[in-house]
């Protein structure tokens, strides 16, 4: 078994089994599809879980690495692996998907086979994004992911689902296609410099890029990632997509897909275009946009009458924090950012699930339609309060650890944005707590609320792992941080070093930069592994 968890096969299995599961879902009876999907996604989670312990800490090397030639004439390979950053993202994905499936058991009533098949395809593609170490492979997963999500929103979504689905698709595609041009440009530059055509990440990362070109290429990558995050002012697709998507779609969008933009910055934009990414113009822009995102997201959330839309806007604020942490480039802030990605996935995912449960009972999400339901649904109310507190970052919950690390880390290099962002924590309380209060407490104004049934066994089972993690990470974040610290440390060091080495123009005397270390493989030789 240990051999399996040290080889790439474990990652390959994680991507292939959901696809097999998707085919199975289509083949079985309509009412069985959900059980198949739940079994498969749970299996995937259980299989992926040991990775957390088999992962070697204390090294920044890429693990479970493999590179098999795929489209040889173009130097494209099936190159996958994980490091500390992708490890947490992979586990977050495998953790969220079964819960999303379980949360859809009663929510989805039509076309169930296709629904669960799409969810599983989506899981495979999302995992692919996090483990790819080949730019072609990464791009394929990055874009393929849009198709199942397009269908999830478009077929099973709410009233304005078509508008939301198309908007989501086109927004993401704009950035992605420009990124494709940049990738092709990068490959071309590498070919000019070293005479080899390759899409392998660990080759392309050795190319020192002239400073003016860096800015252009960085912008193309950054646009794709910033739309996905989404950063202000590219966020307008998010409220539509989140609100119209079915619960499972919202959970996955918020839980996993928003993290991909950040992941893209960490994996590609920062190390490859370090000089551009650390230039004061870029840093200032990102800081300003992040602070705007934090404050704007909070203010807009505060006035939403629709609970789901409120949660959608909080995502913009949360991701603003994460972006700020990433670009502050201190080890605390980046580690905090990664931790906060996990936290946001859990707490926002849980919020969407909770709102979904209310919606199933009342077929409304308007805050004003509720009130006093803490009396009729005590278990629901307790969970809701805990998750809401985690979302606003109360000490003792996971949200606090992440935000605190980001703020402390950012304060060291960028005190003013950090100070401004701190106000966002206060605003967070100002939108979340009134919502909780209006939904849960006060007198029961609507007779329908007096009849509500509390959470059933399935719903409790669904929330339990999330609530557990909220508290667990809140009091003991060490194991997670330990797994990211080496990768983060190496990343920051690398970015600083590369930023200085960036040449003014492309010329033949440029020397190769270092490759990333890979566990068990010598990468110093000229030929890439």
């Amino acid at each position: 078994m240990s051999a399996l968890f040290e080889s790439h096969w474990i990652l390959t299995i994680l991507m292939v089994v959901p696809l097999v599961g998707a085919v199975l879902c289509l083949a079985v009876l309509e009412e069985r599809a959900k059980h198949v999907a739940f079994a498969i996604s749970t299996l995937i989670f259980l299989v992926s879980l040991p990775l957390f312990w088999s992962f070697e800490t204390g090294t920044a090397a890429i693990q479970n690495y493999v590179s098999v030639p795929w489209i040889e004439p173009w130097g494209i390979g099936y190159t996958i692996g994980i490091d500390g950053i992708s490890l947490l993202m992979v586990l977050l994905t495998t953790f969220i998907v079964p819960l999303a499936v379980l949360g859809s058991f009663t929510y989805i009533e039509s076309k169930q086979r296709a629904f669960y098949a799409m969810l599983l395809v989506l899981e495979a593609a999302m995992l692919g994004v996090f483990v790819s170490f080949d730019l072609f492979l990464f791009f394929v997963f990055w874009v393929v992911m849009l198709v199942p999500m397009y269908f999830l929103i478009g077929v099973w979504g709410g009233g304005r689902r078509i508008y939301a689905a198309v908007k989501f698709f086109l927004f993401t595609a704009v950035g992605s296609l420009l990124m494709l041009v940049a990738i092709v440009g990068l490959v071309y530059l590498y070919h000019e410099q070293f005479g080899v055509v390759t899409f392998a990440y660990n080759d392309l990362v050795t190319l020192p890029i002239a400073r003016n070109l860096q800015l252009i290429l960085f912008s193309a990558f950054a646009l794709a990632f910033a739309i996905k995050v989404p950063m202000f002012p590219f966020h307008t697709w998010l409220p539509d997509a989140h609100v119209e998507a079915p619960t499972a779609g919202s959970v996955i969008l918020a839980g996993v897909m928003l993290k991909m933009g950040i992941y893209g910055f960490l994996r590609f934009a920062l190390p490859m275009f370090s000089h551009a990414a650390t230039s004061s113009a870029v840093i200032t822009t990102v800081m300003v946009l992040s602070v705007i995102g934090i404050i704007y997201g909070a203010w807009v959330a505060a006035v939403q009458p629709d609970a789901k839309k409120l949660v959608a806007y909080t995502s913009i604020a949360h991701l603003g924090f994460v972006m700020m942490g990433v670009f502050a480039l201190t080890s605390q802030s980046v580690e905090g950012a990664i931790l906060q990605m996990v936290n946001h996935g859990i707490s926002t995912g849980a919020l969407f699930l909770l709102i979904g449960m209310l919606y199933e009972r009342r077929h409304t999400r308007m805050i004003a339609d509720f009130g006093g339901i803490a009396r009729t649904m005590p278990v629901f109310a307790t969970s809701f309060v805990l998750v809401a507190l985690s979302s606003i970052g109360l000490p003792g919950t996971n949200g606090f650890v992440g935000e605190f690390l980001i703020l402390v880390g950012t304060f060291r290099t960028h005190p003013i944005p950090a100070f401004l962002a701190t106000t966002g924590v206060i605003f967070a309380a100002a939108y979340m707590l009134p919502m909780v209060q209006r939904v849960l407490f006060g007198p029961i104004t609507d007779a329908a609320n007096a009849e509500l049934t509390d959470l059933g066994g399935r719903e409790r089972a669904l929330l339990a792992p999330m609530l557990l993690l909220i508290v667990l990470i809140g009091v003991y974040p060490g194991p997670l941080l330990r797994r990211t610290e080496s990768s983060v440390g190496a990343l920051i060091e690398q970015v600083e070093k590369r930023a200085q080495l960036a040449p003014l123009t492309m010329n033949s005397s440029i020397e190769r930069l270092d490759r990333l270390p890979i566990l068990g493989i010598d990468v110093t030789s000229e030929d890439a592994p």
Binding site: W74, I162, V184
Partner: protein
């Protein structure tokens, strides 16, 4: 075996696929006439079968031709990988359109020997066009192809729109032929020959440089080709003809004509007239830009899916021209790859649309697609694959094709063209997605009539189409190798005498060392 054309017999070897197609076509025509006599009844099932046998045999002959070596100095037809690759594309398109179309033709009473004969004649014109390296042969091939297609476009005599399409196609096609012929005449005047090698070396040697005859000839030739591949602003006929012609013919025209005419354009303009590249570069660049932008914008508001696909096929001519503008072996290879994928995906899309709204008097308006994803899952699934591929979405062949073109454009320093290519693709997403959302996100209206369930031939062709598109997207290595050598093979055809052409030392062959 070496083909040096010292003996007439060598032409038989060089034209083997065309000869096989001609034999098949003539056999069908004559035997069918005797079998049917004077009765006006449909032909037997053996006719489409014989057509497919003919195309498959011709395909085998084309592969067999790979074994020939042909020092091509003076020959009128080329025997190289480029020609073989495109011949196979055209034959595949012919086979698929027979498989897709026969059922429809039988329903409409059009499945007669003459139809298949004309189809094969058009195919001969097309395959000959990919090989022609003498301007006269180019003209003859284009005429053979076009005249057969004029008749095919009007084959459904009881349908007014079919006749209208035929007339429109004929009038504009005749215009195009005139341009082409005039261009050939001027080039002959400028260089004293119609043979591509001589024309090229004359231009390269400077005897023809600065010559108004030459420039006029090149410009007219390009206009002639632009008509045939339907590049903006010479595309006006496309939507009407594609909409009016019998659906099986439409798919064949969209795939075959474009492949053949574009192949010839690559060989004649891209290689033969390479020494005049500084002159035509701007023209073709401008055509490519217009052809990418305009049809994509028009297609956005087109409610008839057949017309939308027609505009999409015009837009694809624009993408293809990026490879020509790049002017390198990599660019030509990319165009060849894209032509192959394009032929399959556009045939597939037109075939599905024909099932849904192909009958005369009915339309393929977008409303008819509502709810189809759930009532006819296989048909809709096939259309989704074709549309995603047309949009250039992974993991389909269309994506690899666009990536190929992007690489070529980038390597040739045509960065604005590369950016335009992706931005216009983005615009096209909207109208391709619109069909998908109609099929899956909306419910069929009450009492809507479901399209018929296609028969065996159609299902076989559909499976082949989907598999080809996915294979080209997921495992494109072999196809990329093949098209790389196809692109390299016509670049070797470039003139070498005192040439300052950028093609002799390609800026980037793209096939360079791979680790």
């Amino acid at each position: 075996m070496i083909l040096d054309f010292s003996s007439q017999l060598h032409y038989v070897w060089a034209l083997l696929p065309e000869i096989i197609l001609a034999v098949a076509g003539l056999t069908i025509l004559t035997v069918d006439v005797f079998l049917r006599g004077s009765r006006s009844v449909p032909s037997g099932r053996w006719v489409p079968v014989a057509t497919v046998v003919g195309t498959v045999a011709a395909g085998a002959a084309a592969v067999f031709q790979l074994g020939f070596e042909s020092p091509m100095a003076m020959s009128m037809v080329a025997v190289d990988e480029f020609r073989v690759a495109l011949t196979l594309v055209i034959l595949a398109a012919t086979t698929l359109s027979v498989l897709f179309g026969t059922e429809y033709l039988e329903r409409r009473g059009l499945a007669v020997g003459e139809y298949y004969f004309l189809l094969l004649m058009a195919a001969i014109g097309m395959t000959l066009l990919t090989a022609a390296r003498d301007l006269i042969v180019v003209f003859v091939a284009i005429e053979l192809m076009s005249i057969s297609l004029y008749v095919l476009a009007g084959f459904d005599r009881s349908d007014k729109r079919s006749s209208e399409a035929a007339l429109k196609y004929f009038l504009l096609g005749a215009f195009a032929s005139a341009f082409l012929l005039y261009g050939i005449a001027l080039l002959y005047g400028a260089s004293g020959s119609t043979n591509l090698s001589i024309v090229a070396s004359e231009i390269a040697a400077g005897t023809a440089s600065g010559n108004t005859l030459l420039y006029g000839g090149v410009a007219l030739l390009i206009i002639g080709f632009a008509f045939k591949i339907s590049a903006v602003p010479f595309h006006m006929w496309t939507p009407d003809v594609y909409q009016g012609a019998p659906p099986p013919v439409t798919g064949f025209m969209a795939a075959g004509v474009k492949a053949a005419a574009f192949a010839s354009m690559l060989r004649i303009v891209g290689i033969g007239l390479a020494p005049a590249e500084p002159f035509w570069h701007t023209i073709v660049w401008g055509l490519a830009v217009l052809t990418m932008i305009i049809p994509n914008l028009i297609a956005l508001q087109e409610d008839d899916v057949k017309r939308m696909l027609a505009y999409s096929s015009v837009a694809h001519a624009g993408y293809l021209m990026v490879g020509l503008v790049a002017g390198t072996a990599l660019g030509f290879s990319a165009s060849v790859f894209y032509l192959g994928v394009y032929a399959v995906m556009t045939l597939g899309a037109f075939a599905v649309v024909a099932v849904i709204g192909g009958d005369p008097g009915s339309s393929a308006s977008i409303g008819k697609f509502r709810g189809l994803g759930w009532s006819r899952p296989m048909l809709a699934g096939m259309l989704v694959v074709c549309l995603l591929s047309l949009a250039g979405f992974p993991p389909t062949g269309g994506f690899i094709g666009k990536l190929y073109l992007l690489r070529a454009a980038m390597a040739a320093g045509e960065v604005p063209l590369a950016v335009l290519l992706v931005l216009t693709s983005l615009v096209s997403y909207y109208y391709y997605l619109r069909v998908i959302w109609k099929m899956y996100f909306e419910e069929a209206p009450e009492g809507a009539v479901l399209p018929p369930v296609p028969g065996r031939g159609f299902r076989l062709a559909g499976a082949l189409t989907v598999l080809t598109i996915l294979a080209a997207g997921i495992w494109p290595g072999p196809a990329v190798d093949a098209t790389d050598s196809a692109g390299a093979s016509i670049v070797q055809d470039a003139p070498t005498v005192g040439s300052e052409s950028p093609l002799v030392q390609p800026r980037d062959t793209g096939t360079a060392t791979v680790r």
